[in-house]
């Protein structure tokens, strides 16, 4: 790869004063951007220049800057987390862009992710979906020996793949229906594939899906945009597993107070 160079770019960035106010795209010329800088460092540079002029900096969400927290939520040229596959915004570098390019930067757009300011959205809808059932209950006390509970290797691997989800919200942002099913499917799969997740498996999928609907996310039409945008390469297969579990739970879950089983 050739060495670092400086490029001049043009940004079109979503600016919005606060929740519920009307936002819009504002253009900025940004000369002298090192191709070695990350996308967020480039925005830091823009903000420094804005502040030097006494202008309000652009509000951006970010935290770890190492691809694990899921905070850096930007739609770059129409794709959440930008043009590189399996890469979060904070891991994207300016070498993915070229001299003179116009780059459009927008926040996650979804009713369930209201804009707080500029490019920052409130993603607590995902937290509420987790709180509704995305956990396993364990007793405190003596720690269980490692490997005390057998887990089939294939399940362990599939559960780990699903557990890679960082809850960034890119799936709902990418989906033309603003559906959160890749995220919910990842969590339902992650816990549902493991023995520790079995006691609450039916409750979990019913409650998480219920919360997902209540938050105002759309429904899946199997377009696959979520899978393409996901920085952690979560597969559409998790949605099939969630659907399977949900339909199974709806059909077989015994109503509260139903009498005990036994033959007819």
């Amino acid at each position: 790869m050739s060495g670092s160079k400086d490029i001049n770019i043009k940004l079109r960035i979503w600016r919005q004063k606060g929740p519920g106010t009307k936002g819009g795209l504002v253009s900025y010329d940004v000369p002298g951007v090192s191709t070695d800088s990350s996308f967020l460092e480039m925005l830091d540079l823009v903000n420094e220049r804005l502040m030097e002029k006494g202008d309000e900096p652009i509000a951006i969400d970010h935290d770890c800057r190492e691809g694990i927290c899921g905070a850096c939520s930007l739609v770059i040229n129409g794709v959440p987390h930008g043009p590189r596959a399996a890469t979060t915004t904070c891991q994207l570098h300016m070498r993915s862009f070229h001299e003179g390019q116009t780059i459009t930067v927008e926040p996650w757009m979804a009713k369930a992710f209201p804009v707080i300011k500029d490019l920052i959205v409130d993603r607590s809808a995902y937290d509420r979906i987790i709180a509704a059932g995305g956990f396993v209950s364990v007793n405190t006390g003596v720690g269980v020996d490692a490997n005390a509970i057998p887990v089939p290797k294939e399940n362990a691997e599939l559960a780990m793949d699903a557990a890679a989800c960082i809850g960034c919200g890119a799936c709902a942002a990418a989906c033309p229906n603003a559906s959160a099913m890749l995220f919910v499917g990842a969590k339902v799969s992650h816990l549902g594939l493991l023995p520790q997740g079995q006691p609450e498996r039916q409750e979990r999928v019913l409650k998480m899906v219920e919360q997902m609907d209540a938050e105002g996310f759309g429904g899946c039409t199997n377009m696959g945009e979520c899978e393409a945008a996901c920085p952690k390469e979560i597969k559409l297969e998790v949605i099939a597993r969630m659907n399977r579990d949900y339909i199974g739970a709806k059909v077989t879950k015994r109503p509260k107070g139903a009498d005990k089983g036994g033959g007819a």
Partner: protein, 222 residues
Amino acid sequence: MSAIQSTAERPVFGSITLKAVMALTGIVLYGFVFVHMVGNIQLYQGPEKINGYAAFLKSVPPLLWGTRITLLAAVLLHALAAFTLWRRNLAARPVGYAHQSFQAAGITSRTMYWTGPVIALFVIYHLLHFTLGSAHSQFSHTDVYTNVVVGFSNVWVSGFYVLAMLALGFHLFHGGFSLFQTLGLRTPKYEKPIKLVLAVLCTVIVVVNVSFPIAVLAGLVK
């Protein structure tokens, strides 16, 4: 801003429940489309054959009406679920993107909400055209063969049929794939075979159905 408490209300019918309704009714409609197509091939065996087939279909009224009511219920439920989900999906993104690039969605998945209503309009016209007979004056309740020949001699009518069948092919390709996913039956093992079978099936459905109006216009069936 409290993260945990939620004041939002959940809809009565969950999104996955509605999708399951669409998938199950979709299977019924899929079956109908296929049987209907196979039966109509008898058009190529002359008037006695197809008219006899039509008379046979109508010979047991309870069976005929049972089928009709099942199909009507399936279409209505399917369209109602589609409409409900469509409204929710629109509401889920009140402010759209200035720039959205699609990376994975193909033409068939992106046009489901167009091809569906086109099929609905087609079904209404088709029933007026060949079942109720109110769409043209020379209609006969027993001579199906002549109805088809007279109906398809009109280029505009035939053109609409061809267009509707293309929409149906698109709808059934993505719909067929979707229904496996919706019902949780999609697995990596069968993904490629399912797509292949659907591609062949949808091509056959389009080609055979489109062949009827074309054959009439070309003077092969008269």
